[in-house]
Amino acid sequence: MKRQLALIDFALGGLRRRLGKSLALTLGLAFVVALFGAALLLTDALRAEYARGTGGMPDLTVQRLVAGRPALIDVAVADELAALPAVRRVEPRVWGYYFFVALEANVTVVGATEARTLADGRLPAADGEVAVGASIADLLGLRVGDEIGIPVEGEVRFSDVVGVFGEDAAIRTADLIVATPPHARRLLGMPEGSATDLAIDLTTQDEAGVLTERIGALVPGARVLDARLLERTYELTFDTRGGLLALLLLPALAAFLLLAWERLTGLGPGERREIGVLKAVGWGTADVLAARMWESAIVATFGATLGAVLAYAYVFWLDAPGLLDALLGWSALRPPMRLVPAFDPVQGFALVAAVVIPFVAISVVPAWRAAMIDPDQALRGGE
């Protein structure tokens, strides 16, 4: 313990003697950790956000394909499917996109059957009522009690705004116009008795595979989507994007490690001499190495922690300017982001493994090589 403290003290002296180099390495490490950490924090937060909403998803979604494109499906099919075993409930859903010229963006029109209250207003209960998402309300200046006119097939259809979703739920609702199913059909220009897809709740998810086949046989052109599959697709989307982002950052990591390698392996004549002096005054190889390890450990601790905090501040306080676009793509109706930090320890460990461990390794190896030199060789200034 006393020995280690004395060595740490010596290591601190060494860091101070080479202040410029120490600072450059610490800041470089912090920068690289911050880049990777920000990508990690963002993906983890989005993944967690997604997971918070999967409970509401139907077990199976049945679409109908005509000529290879999703087409409207007859509501009557729902009754047919409801008779199948293991099916608890079939709900024809009405939803679709509407290109809002005023916003120059697509909004999503959704038909909702459940009556629910919102923090500000409620979901529509009668035809002619709508609830809108935060981005739409924001851009059009809508409040509960206002009227919104939506041009459909040459005429403007007016609806009363009875609810506005808050920012808390913006990541799910920012672009929504929620209406009763009949009203949603009118807004989307869908014929009566048609639905966009059918949402099926099962008594047990295990039957999904069997049912998919039966539905395929029953409904011509059916495409059945398993909720678990959707979930996995989404996870993969974020994994892929996070991975691509990390891939883009790899050159930064490589550059840093190269720089560190150069700085650390090119033991200057001064440092070589220093190690020679230490060995000459009775330091063993292990002592020289331990002092070097402490130097690297201090730089790594400060750099990595600083980087992690920087990443956190960048993502959650500054809303990740630059990086968010890469991860989320661009959207005319980008919701106000209020991400909830989620952290996956495995990923954190992976980050440490990818950045910190190579750093410590490349800083110790050259010192080890130098410390192995006989002091008399250091003395001769040779190899």
Binding site: N106, R172, G209, R223, L229, Y234, W317, G329, W330
Partner: protein, 102 residues
Amino acid sequence: MTPRLRALAGGLVLLAALVAVALVDAGRRRPRSGPDHEAAVSLGLPDLVLSSAERWLRHPSQAEPGAAVSDLPGAPDVDPAGALIGPPRAVLRVGGVEPRRR
């Protein structure tokens, strides 16, 4: 304790304080599950309000598979050759069901 060790201890305390600030902040950002969130979940929507690659808005998971002009005619195809990492094949399959492992 030498002045240098004291300085190191001070630095470590400062680091710990920074981490603590971040952790406290993270704790305060717990998801608020108000009525809006529940109403949103009850709609059963499969996607977040995020654009994904070449589609403007959400529901990418249920939009037309592989339509080059699904956004608008003339939209640049961002990835004409295919992604670096392909999507799971099952997603594109009619009646896509996650293959069960036995």
